[in-house]
Chain length 555, copies 2
Amino acid sequence: MKKLFSFSLVAFFLSFCLEIAAAEGPLKAAWSTTDCLVGKTECPSPFGNGKTQKFTAWRGERLHAKILLWSSTDGGEVGFTVEEPQANHWVDDATTGFLRYVMTDELNKDGKGGCGYRPDKTQFDSSLVADRIEPIRSLRYEAKTVQPVWITFDVPHDAVPGLYRGTVSITYDNKVCSVLPYSIRVIDRTLPEPAKQKFHLDLWQNPFSVARMAGVPLWSKEHFDAMRPLMERLAKAGQRGITATITHKPWNGQTYDYFEDMITEIKRADGTWMYDYTVFDRWVEFMQSCGVGPYIYCYSVIPWELTFRYYDQATNSMVDRKLAVDSPEFDEYWVNKLKAFASHLKEKGWFGQTIIAMDERPEKSMKAALRVIRKADPAYKISLAGNYHEDLNAELFDLCIPYDNKYPEGVVATRRAAGKITTFYTCCAEAFPNTFSFSQPVEASLFGLIAAERGLDGYLRWAYNSWVESPDQDTRFRTWAAGDTYLVYPMNQSSVRFEKLIEGIQMFEKIQVLKSDPRRARMVGRLLQPFAYDKIKGASLQKEIRKVNAYLNSK
Amino acid sequence: MKKLFSFSLVAFFLSFCLEIAAAEGPLKAAWSTTDCLVGKTECPSPFGNGKTQKFTAWRGERLHAKILLWSSTDGGEVGFTVEEPQANHWVDDATTGFLRYVMTDELNKDGKGGCGYRPDKTQFDSSLVADRIEPIRSLRYEAKTVQPVWITFDVPHDAVPGLYRGTVSITYDNKVCSVLPYSIRVIDRTLPEPAKQKFHLDLWQNPFSVARMAGVPLWSKEHFDAMRPLMERLAKAGQRGITATITHKPWNGQTYDYFEDMITEIKRADGTWMYDYTVFDRWVEFMQSCGVGPYIYCYSVIPWELTFRYYDQATNSMVDRKLAVDSPEFDEYWVNKLKAFASHLKEKGWFGQTIIAMDERPEKSMKAALRVIRKADPAYKISLAGNYHEDLNAELFDLCIPYDNKYPEGVVATRRAAGKITTFYTCCAEAFPNTFSFSQPVEASLFGLIAAERGLDGYLRWAYNSWVESPDQDTRFRTWAAGDTYLVYPMNQSSVRFEKLIEGIQMFEKIQVLKSDPRRARMVGRLLQPFAYDKIKGASLQKEIRKVNAYLNSK
């Protein structure tokens, strides 16, 4: 395990905070916004210790609250308890606790995004951000720092509309030092259950990272046990895609834990192929049991290196075979494999929900992929996460283009009429909005609004949990801006970014409900205008979101 | 390809030979003995240019003749033709041709054997020996060298007894320069067909070397095609054992081409094992089709490193697992594998002829092997090539001890009465007799006589064709004295050593025939006395062998 923080910047962050020192009493506590990051040693400007934190919610909605604790004293034991409005339990214990600071870095020096290699960490400024939600209710307070508390309420789907009141009590050395009231007004509207959400969420899962961090053998019972709460969390957010890999290193091992082929491919001594789907089946069935689905995205016919690894019976060894996309061997390899795969999928009853998935690759490669897929079974569904290509559009059941890219007029409507999925994605390329660990949390809540404004079906991000070496402490990686590779933490710990993403999805869902009323649809349209590509601005975001929320939560 | 000869010793060998210079005429030719090596630049003492080479043979016997060619002139085209006694063809074309010189080294400096590493070739004297029989009938003669011709006759099993005469014509630049007469007296006795020989010959085959030298994929049609003549040659010599490997590197990869597991072992993601016998079956069936059998020797429950390689489905990778012989995991691994193997062997009808084979290993390991084999199936046949161990003896269907080791009184007879096989072996340890490429060829013909003298069933050598890097040119290796690792050459070229080994086997077979007559048995017993362990001597060998042969070929 790497040591927590390894360089002198830390000393700088922990230097004495005059403002904190000036605060009265042993420990201050105040509600704070969940939209923004706070500095670990930056004295907060509380917006009302005694004030009530007021929520309005639909039935079935998830709500987030943040409390800041700070003190000029030396450290001590701090804790909190949530007095709930009524007997039934609304607090999500797994997503309520203290926020933990993790190391992050920054955008590229030109401010234009976070792509590229970062082998030398000193080339980027690093800082600490309170992103990880550790589900504990007490800890040793570190003197002269800001310690945030994160509370997640899940309003039940069967909650009776009305006003609910509760408090959060803060204790210092086992004595209550603050009581912070809150209220939740539940209105007579209901958000759909995750499985019935309209939002198409696709965050790619990395089971290999989980095995490493949990220290358990791949695909063992212990591995699935370790993944279950994490993947159930994802399902609850509305995840629609199971990320499956059908080649060794589809993305050339760009993540700390590379993705391995879930199809066992054996070249027999007589030259024929034997496929075994044990791993694939176990993974898919497990994910389905977690509530993720219905789609199974299979990466990739065109892995970045075009190298295909298989077990070679004759030599009792692994073979890496490089195949040019215009070679007969490429077609032979894939048509054979995809035909057998189609048979297997049909046997399992999964063929209709399985999508052979591609990333943006050179045109020649993408056409080769289409060619072999169609040769193997013309009915295969195909997806692309990449730029819009007019001549590929019709072939793609699921098309996902970058945030900066634009669908031509009419394309989305035509695709929707044909029952196809049309979404957008962010990755390292977008400076704003994004979900780097240094991004302002409010940015994560925009994706639902942006999808709504563009009339799209949802959002894709390539990394739900491709963890780095020490993901709990340091979100930085050898490539890309910090946090690019994961939105949740090991041991099923959520992040501020992931929770804010959910807020955006909920807004999207509310919009879908209200849009059925043409009058409301027009109003919603107007309220979404500030989130259009050419209008969206960091400065006014919170105000505009408040406006949308006020409308969505009005009777 | 390495260059043919890489150091200055060659210059020494090729230095001017005064005696050769003194020879008359353009090219001299004379019969020579097959028992001894000749120097490449050493002027021969011909024992009669015009003399007739006289053979006496049983029907079905293989006969060898050697002719030396030498000249003081510059090089030229030389060739030979064999005029056969009658219309039907007795010459074995695949084993008749020019002898080729190959590089060899010598015994260890203490003269006690050829074991140990030889990383520095300059630590040993090197020389050229005419060992490889290339089946060609003409070549460019290299001036002032001795160029031997090798002729192999196979007297048909249905030959009519009588005296047959023929000649060998030597041509120099397409003109006959010598005609050497020979005669073969066929007596009214018949050697058994190879499959009916009593001699238990076990030379371990290395299919992996053949694939490399032929440049063909393992277990492909081309691979089997390349092996067929080589393995049919072995079958014709009376080979009884198919060398199969059931672990990765049973001998820790000590040969240039290591031995790979012929059982495909797959650890499935659910922790269960899947075995596939495609390679094993193809190899065994191929060897059977070549006439090798009936036994299938499977190496080894106790590979030298105790590391077991398998394909791990969960990680899509090869795993090397080290297992201590006293661990429950060792038993679990082997009992499971050997049980499944027994079922497969029974299905194929091979169980009764399959032998789980061991080399000499620490007592604890050998006992562990017996334990797991017996647990898996008490009826498995087991073999050991190693020292005599009284407490293992009863367990072993096939027991093979080193040349220098001795069976206690009565053991061989008891074993034979129980239908068991009892043999001896040579390896790097024996200075004499042996089949290093610098050993005198006559030594190879002793093994049949030694087996007969000791009352054993046959002989084992651990390497029929474990070829070195450039086996056609250089028989030296990184370990052991040169030639230790192979008796035949690529492209189905035989060696003087291998052919002389066959002569010894034929003597053994003749002895078995004659021994049925008690009077002859006594006489044979007397004639074999000089080949007893404490009496055998290099100096008188040829004389003693002549005596034995004279008796075996008498009416």
